[in-house]
Symmetry: C2
Subunit: 397 residues, 2 copies
Amino acid sequence: NNSPELELETFDKDLIFQGLKRMYRKKILPLEISSKYGHFHSPPLSPSDFDAKPMVLLLGQYSVGKTSFIRYLLGRDFPGIRIGPEPTTDRFTCILDGEVDKIIPGAALCSQADRPFRGLSPFGNNFLSKLEAVEMDAPILRNITLVDTPGILSGAKQSVGRNYDYDNVMKWFAERADLIIIMFDAHKLDISDELKRVIEMMKPHADKVRVVLNKADSVSTQQLMRVYGALMWQLGKVMNTPEVCRVYMGSFWGAPLKNTEQATLLNREKLDLFQDIAQLPQNAVMRRINELVKRARGVKVHAYIIHYLRKQLPYTFGKREKQARLIDRLDRELIMCARRYELPRGDFPPVEPLRQALLEIKDLSEFPKLDKKMVKEMDKVFSVDIPALLEKARGEH
Amino acid sequence: NNSPELELETFDKDLIFQGLKRMYRKKILPLEISSKYGHFHSPPLSPSDFDAKPMVLLLGQYSVGKTSFIRYLLGRDFPGIRIGPEPTTDRFTCILDGEVDKIIPGAALCSQADRPFRGLSPFGNNFLSKLEAVEMDAPILRNITLVDTPGILSGAKQSVGRNYDYDNVMKWFAERADLIIIMFDAHKLDISDELKRVIEMMKPHADKVRVVLNKADSVSTQQLMRVYGALMWQLGKVMNTPEVCRVYMGSFWGAPLKNTEQATLLNREKLDLFQDIAQLPQNAVMRRINELVKRARGVKVHAYIIHYLRKQLPYTFGKREKQARLIDRLDRELIMCARRYELPRGDFPPVEPLRQALLEIKDLSEFPKLDKKMVKEMDKVFSVDIPALLEKARGEH
Ligand SMILES: Nc1ncnc2c1ncn2[C@@H]1O[C@H](COP(=O)(O)OP(=O)(O)OP(=O)(O)O)[C@@H](O)[C@H]1O
Ligand SMILES: Nc1ncnc2c1ncn2[C@@H]1O[C@H](COP(=O)(O)OP(=O)(O)OP(=O)(O)O)[C@@H](O)[C@H]1O
Ligand SMILES: [Mg+2]
Ligand SMILES: [Mg+2]
């Protein structure tokens, strides 16, 4: 089989991650710094953004079996685990690879530079007290990180006790996750407004979303079909994508099936889901490469925008007024910039946020001159360095 | 069991239909005629509007098995039947109860006063050549009428050869049908734009719509689940109702199941669908009563509107101008009319079409005076006649 996806399985992942980190540090980061990319878009990547394990995010209504599923994947309890028919999990729990069982409180977790959770600090103490990590030794954790989340309640119950920015915390995790599992319970399928809102937040990440219809063995086959159909009906309306979301139905815990009529189906579904999860590390390599390329294109365009605007400014008088005028007609300036430097319009950022960020810059002429050599070096990342890295990783294995 | 729905099963349907016909002729129709209800709204009901058998409308992409399903319900071929893997059915075929096998061409069908198809004549000769009825003797036809429709093709193929107003023909049938079955093929599930449009036309009748996922035995269980899920996903988006449409999956023809893994499920689904169809005659009684009551309320309001407007006209000069002014400010006049005669606002027709119809009336004062005795008689339809009829039908059985 010659498909690149399968070949990737024989890649040396660590070699690739090291290579990407080096490329970023040497060829992309310098341009980010000189063009203040961090001010306009997102802060520089940290090493953990490259080699952190693929993250699986679990979410869903309370009591659907999220924590039980995690326990099942781990093969045993994690420290501090709580499972029960009432709403139990009240925090975000990141389950990480470690030699001994250990609980790391949220505030401590966010301050570890080698962990990919530093970006959570801005959510503040109220949130950090609802965040923790556990370290433990379990085979699956050598390849992936799991994140358990508080069950979604409905109506007023939901907002009580949530004194942090839940939506943005969810979005933060969803952006970074490699797989988002939305879990439902075949027993009580009702998509509350709160759950619907969370599902809608996952729409930009539709390709990473999988749905699990849990406890599928506790209803009759015909009931299961009705529940499954109703679920798809509602999801189609909420997600509103042409691509159908993959739904795995089964019973994802240790106990034997209650209703065995669909045993063959449910067992196959379970195998499929596990295969989906097992492929994450391989897919993560491609995704990291892809993300890096996307970022580099964004950085290049950004550097040229700054360069272009800076060049329009007069040397002596009227700088301030000219800068204000440029920002004012920013949309037209961006079109000119794209034309002059032959940059793809699709790589340009949205105008409004850029305008806002520019308004905070006193004097654009204080930016360093664009170093074209730096740009050329970065261009080589796409054309030379990444292909070479992939070649090397394949060869050395 | 005391629920009225179940009690209805022991009703004498024919007695009820005869009673409704008599009530209509004696108490509602006179008011319709004197107030020209037909000019403003819809032509008088014909006897066949009361006792026509419940109609089941079959529709879907070509080759999904619509005609085969009808054949299966009938237990044998109907005259002129064509079944095949290519697009076969090219016409609307109404399958009716009759003593001997007989084909009735479209034009002849529309001119039969005792058939409920007279309303199809205005669709013209091009359509009538694509319409036919067949009469035959089959047990199911004693209780229901079946309508087979041309398979929906996709893209350009569809419009070629359709030289009649397909959409409005479909709507005509959908309005009159008691059950609308949209059939899909588990093999080739793809909702073309043309099919999507037809499904959207069925939205006002969502309560009558059932979906059949046919040939469910020709794929594996997991494939069937994917296909079923994808179908619900897409239907949810197209129908966009909170209520989930009932989908029956199975193989609806005479042959034994190919893949028997889901035999239990598919057989149960078939039983459920047949039960759904078997209940139609009972439900039709309630629907006919309901429709008659709705119509009578509309007739009453209409008669009062004419009465009210007529009373505003001067006896001698300035009639024309006054009538024009009344029509001009018709919305306000309707509110006054509702208030004066204590009529429910919800029974009033939409203003614009009424205005248009009024503009075609030269002189409103030529309408006969409203006969209040007639209105009183009609009021008794709701309060006395229908309850008495139901009582009698129950008693005599
Ligand atoms: N596959 C399953 N079949 C039947 N019951 C299950 C299954 N998985 C979990 N349960 C039961 O469902 C209940 C809820 O489980 P669990 O605490 O894992 O749910 P949760 O989604 O983590 O809830 P919360 O959001 O409140 O944390 C428990 O009583 C558990 O034993
Ligand atoms: N339940 C079934 N399982 C497998 N094949 C079937 C089934 N029902 C019908 N078929 C086959 O599918 C093909 C199409 O059947 P049929 O002509 O009844 O479809 P149709 O929906 O009426 O098509 P058209 O819209 O063109 O009239 C035929 O070859 C028929 O034998
Ligand atoms: Mg939990
Ligand atoms: Mg056909």
